[in-house]
Symmetry: C2
Subunit: 270 residues, 2 copies
């Protein structure tokens, strides 16, 4: 088993409770990446779900769990034929850390003749070979934790900020995969939707920008291969910014969408 | 007090419980409009919130409440200096109907000098006088309930479906206000984000398309006047479609954003 699957493992403890261990290997400055936490929560939810896929996952991030034992508490609110909804709370030391609501369902066959089908324009990215490894892009820093686990290649059009020349547009685009061999699935999509640097870096390199709420939708089962992620922002104001990401698989299928609201970090403290 | 404020009134019943009465005047075919239900939930949440605005509201729609007495149960999970998060459940007959998580906060002054500020392109709509009243657009049907309460004027570019000629693009744009005099605020924004006909009508007029999950963000305090709403879709596949809406106020400020995931209705049963 690879590092990612170890990090998101859950151990059933009865009555909808699951033991988890937020994994230091996926931490950034002591805080375990939110996508990895969501993947653990989804493992617990899918363990008792009547449907196979997390169609809609809403997460409110209350506190940053430490890399110490924690629990996921799952309570089903509805188990219907088409969709089922659970409330799932990541708890540590008796306090809620991440509050999620997850609706699971089936995903019909995208090739189903007669079913309504339509997709918007895919994002335009240069070939992966022309994109820049985020580790190189950020210069000679000591990389550890999360950044060592992921292989993010940024579209050169969105990396001006690494040279102190933000593009002026809050956008990020890049390829995403793990450094270890691990094909995408629902759990990896939970990580992919928030895998790029904050979109506001396209305007100004600000400090740590904590995600307050993130909702993502699984739209199709991803094919093997690197994922393409495109994120944009619509509004930065009053101390908050939104970030919308789309994840497309290697066959050109839109497989996940997300939107988050985050606090603008303090300027000058990247 | 007008019909809308009556419909979203809450009566505190102690221990975080509030009595509400889903209002038939805002029902569509017996089901009270989801936005009106969310506004009631937000009234209950804001009653005990340390912060004034619902920054992020995530709602999973489990069952359609009847126009009979119901309750909102509010539980605070965190009350921080910058943000506070509550779980709020709309319950009827002892069963959860709508499960929401709400993070409240303050909205900094958009004119704050020095604060990071950026906004994307606003939607382009013709003047309101050139838009079509949704009641006229849909032809000589008997309108009652929700549709009688709202004043929706659709951009002619997005109403081909009313003549059996969908534009081919899943988009809707229009002006939104109540028919009664009632200026916009957080509660009316909860209604506005899902006030237009389903975006999929731009491709094919399908049947009732139930919203399964909707998350919306309040981005600024709206100025008086009609709201401009623009909705688009990115992907229709596997029986599901997404709908993203932006709400702009009369001064050209982006005041709310939403995304929902909904089930594609059955074709031929509009």
């Amino acid at each position: 088993m690879g590092a990612f699957d170890e990090a998101i493992a859950v151990r059933p403890a009865g009555d909808g409770r699951y033991e988890i261990q937020p994994d230091e290997r996926f931490a950034i400055a002591g805080a375990v990446n939110g996508g990895v936490l969501l993947a653990s929560v989804l493992r617990a939810v899918l363990d008792s779900s009547p449907h196979p896929y997390p169609i809609a996952t809403s997460a409110h991030f209350l506190r940053a769990p430490r890399p110490e034992p924690a629990q996921v508490e799952v309570e089903w609110l509805k188990q219907g034929k088409v969709a089922a909804t659970a409330r799932a709370t990541l708890v540590q030391g008796g306090r809620p850390m991440v509050e999620t609501t997850v609706t699971t369902g089936a995903l019909g066959d995208p090739g189903d003749v007669g079913a309504l089908s339509w997709t918007g324009e895919p994002p335009r990215l240069p070939p992966i070979g022309e994109c820049q490894d985020i580790q190189d892009a950020q210069g000679p820093r000591a990389f550890s934790g999360y950044v060592k686990q992921v292989d993010v290649r940024l579209d050169p059009a969105t990396i001006g900020w690494t040279r102190g020349e933000p593009s002026g547009t809050p956008e990020m685009r890049g390829y995403f995969q793990l450094r270890e061999p691990r094909e995408p699935d629902a759990y990896l999509l939970a990580l992919a939707v928030d895998s790029l640097p904050p979109v506001v870096f396209g305007i100004e390199v600000v400090g740590w920008s904590p995600t307050v709420e993130l909702t993502w939708h699984m739209r199709a089962v991803p094919a093997p291969g690197a994922l393409r992620v495109a994120a944009r922002c619509r509004h930065v104001s009053g101390g908050w910014f939104d970030e919308e990401a789309e994840v497309w698989d290697s066959t050109g299928c839109l497989v996940a969408q997300s939107r988050q609201i985050a606090l603008v970090g303090r300027p000058g403290r990247p």
